[in-house]
Amino acid sequence: MWSRYARFSVLTAGFALAVAACGGGSASLSSTGTSGGGYGSSGGSALAPQAPSSQQNPGSSVSGGSQSQSAPAANNAAPAPAAPGNAAPNGAKPAAGLPVPPPGTVPAPPLPGQPHPAPPASGANFASDVGVTANSITFGAINLASATRSLGPVVSEPTQKITEAALTYINNRGGINGRKLQLLTCDDGGDVTRARACYEKLKTQVFAFLPAETFLTDVIHPALAQDHVPFMSWGWFQSEYTDPYMFPCHANGIREASALAKWVAENKHPKTVGIMYLNVSEDIAAKDTATKTLSQYGIKVVQNISMEWDSPDESQHVLSMRVANPDAIFTFTWAAPLAKFFRDAGGQNWSPPLGYWSNHVTTDPGFGPVWGDYIRDHDAGITSFLIPEPWQEPVSPGNLLWEQVTKQYSGYDVAGLHFKYAMGHHISQAAFVCAIALPQMIGPLGANVTRTAFMQQLEAHQYDTGMGVVLKWPHGDHGQYPYSFNKEYIYQWITSPDGGWEEKHLYPDPLYQ
């Protein structure tokens, strides 16, 4: 008898597991909000002094842009991606035949493609678009938090937590024009198929997506064009910059490679270099870009090493680099094989005379112990944002706010890591700056918050992150000049005064041109 029950239980559990595995990621609602004065037209309290600020894009015909402005962005002259069916003309009356909800009922958000209800004559908040109600705006985030073998928890959990913390921070100051912000997250486990399922699940529930780590951002472009969903993204793929519905909050790796190669050529003057890159399209392109840039300075690439993320050992590649004997090595690769390479190179007590020059992967504050002792004095990396280095120079306002929000709402221990200075890494910075700027981005829209108006607002204004980057997404091509990450930052790992890991800001700051 017991055996039958046991078999039934096992079969049931197995079936549930299979359904869970095949049915896409799981979405979990993270709702935040208490009291406060509020941002936007109806808000009372102002954002903290360190918070990002917005201003009109140069050349834009749109007026205003301050956080207290409430003029609907539908009046903006800057064109936005066409979104048929999503526009909610000001003053329009409800379409004939649409059901009228009873008084006091918060109407359900319209489905994509359906007409949006017109704003009430009183100017009060209403369900103006998908994911928007009279008292809330829901955002989505798709990440790879459970992709343990791709370092998912380490990279995604900090990003998710700091995004939630930023929304809590905003909600505790009244939200945006009285609307509280909510976050729906969906874990794709690093699987693009599951990520697509996450997107399909969330697109009818959320107003827009916020930056998080997902490989979906390279393949979702046709769906965004069809569904007219704004997607603030992590910037990893170059295609994100040319999608009119995507608003990258982080620099692109290929441009990073160009800026880093130029900087090293002009400031370190190597005669020969080696390049290590991951065998994926973006890093291969980064390698090619760096090679082209270096050739303009007469610098010879004497060794190219293609890395696989699952390699059990990198000793042979250390040997290969030792034999080629370059003056410096560029790395455009993933953390796991690079960590193995550093470990093996450290074991062989070898490094190139001018050190390693890496993409943003190596520069995250607080990650020193993950890389080990070898990285100190050997590696420098380029990164999108200033990072807090209190022993080196004054901490930037954006980083102060990052740290403050972390301390107040989130905590430093994530995924077994104790972050030394701030909440995580470069993508968590990207998510934070775009989330914390939502009051500036949405507040001016007033009660009539629509996806179209939101995208118009993003394209018409620029947002100072306080971390050394002014975000701007020019209409037509979000990567065109003035590119948000035209200037980046280079940090070198050194030993801190307390014997730990510290990063030193190297000058001049590299420029992408």
Binding site: T148, R149, L151, G152, P153, V154, E157, G274, Y277, N279, I284, V302, Q303, N304, I305, S306, E308, D310, P312, D313, S315, Q316, H317, V318, L319, S320, R322, V323, A324, A335, A336, A339, K340, R343, G347, Q348, N349, W350, V370, A415, G416, L417
Partner: protein, 293 residues
């Protein structure tokens, strides 16, 4: 010449990891005719037990090593018992069952270990010495020596002991062995337990050289399986030779030609070399039979 010798040393060192992983697969295949894909999961779990005992509890490395191998043996025995219960099922189904066990153990390991990369301490200590163009660590030497020792001990047990004689009898004719009174179930579970212990040992030695990463061990198992196939999954010695050959191919290709090969071609070339070896072994199987242990 120095470059070649250095690449060869690196390759042999890599190959010993594959060889260790292949041993358990050969053992379980010989007794049950089942390709045991549970080895990777057991290796990951044994390694995580070793890491937990040594790094979290502060147990001596030898005790931790024993703990990891013992847990691997217990898991192997459980898997062997399940294999007995599934004896009437198709071998392919049982093989998929062992793969399922690996995936479940991976999930368990992922819950145990931290989310960031960790490297368990090597049972052979840190350090090493320069030789030619590379640096030979004590861990590499220890792993290689352990691998050789396992081959020798396994060969001796199989040829010179009553246990080995019974195992060979079961391998040659299970029904006949049962008829003469050899307790089939005990020996099947026993051999799978030994295979599990080998997997635990392979996991500990491999992860202390690189890092404790379950998916990494899955790929190590695949490479190990490729090496084991060179001997038709029947010979410990040939599995060792196959694993080392594969590692040497990787070491030489990566160390000497890595910069000349395009993205992905390094692994592909190693696989091609291995495939040629497997095809050769397949056609010459009878000539290699005398090498079976």
């Amino acid at each position: 010449m120095a470059l070649f010798v250095s690449a060869l040393i690196i390759g042999v060192s890599l190959g010993t990891i594959y060889g260790l992983m292949a041993f358990g697969m050969v053992a379980s295949y010989r007794i049950s005719k089942v390709v045991n894909l549970g080895q990777a999961g057991i290796a990951a779990f044994g390694a995580s037990v070793y890491w937990w005992m040594s790094s979290q509890w502060g147990a001596p490395l030898v005790v931790s090593l024993f703990g990891g191998v013992l847990v691997g043996g217990v898991l192997g025995a459980i898997l062997g018992y399940a294999n007995l219960k599934l004896a009437n099922r198709a071998k392919g189904l049982v093989m998929i069952f062992t793969l399922t066990v690996t995936l479940l153990l991976f999930a368990w390991v992922d819950l145990i270990i931290p989310a960031y990369n960790i490297t368990p301490p090597s049972p052979f200590g840190q350090g090493g010495f320069n030789f030619q163009l590379t640096f030979i660590t004590y861990a590499q030497i220890g792993t290689f020596a352990t691998c050789i020792a396992v081959v020798l001990v396994t060969t001796w047990v199989m040829r010179m002991t009553r246990f080995g004689m019974f195992v060979r009898a079961i391998y040659d004719d299970p029904d006949g062995a049962s008829t003469v009174g050899i307790p089939l179930g005990v020996y099947v579970v026993g051999v799978w337990a030994v295979a599990g212990g080998m997997a635990g040992l392979a996991g500990i030695l491999a992860t202390s050289r690189v890092q404790l990463d379950s998916i990494l061990l899955l790929f190590v198992m695949v490479w190990g399986l490729a090496g084991a196939i060179l001997g038709g999954l029947e010979s410990f010695a040939l599995a060792f030779v196959g694993g080392v050959s594969l590692g040497v191919a990787e070491g030489i290709l990566g160390g000497m030609l890595g910069g000349d090969l395009g993205p992905g071609l390094e692994n592909l070339s190693a696989i091609l070399i291995m495939a040629v070896g497997v095809l050769y072994a397949g056609t010459k199987r009878r000539h290699l039979a005398h090498l079976q242990t």
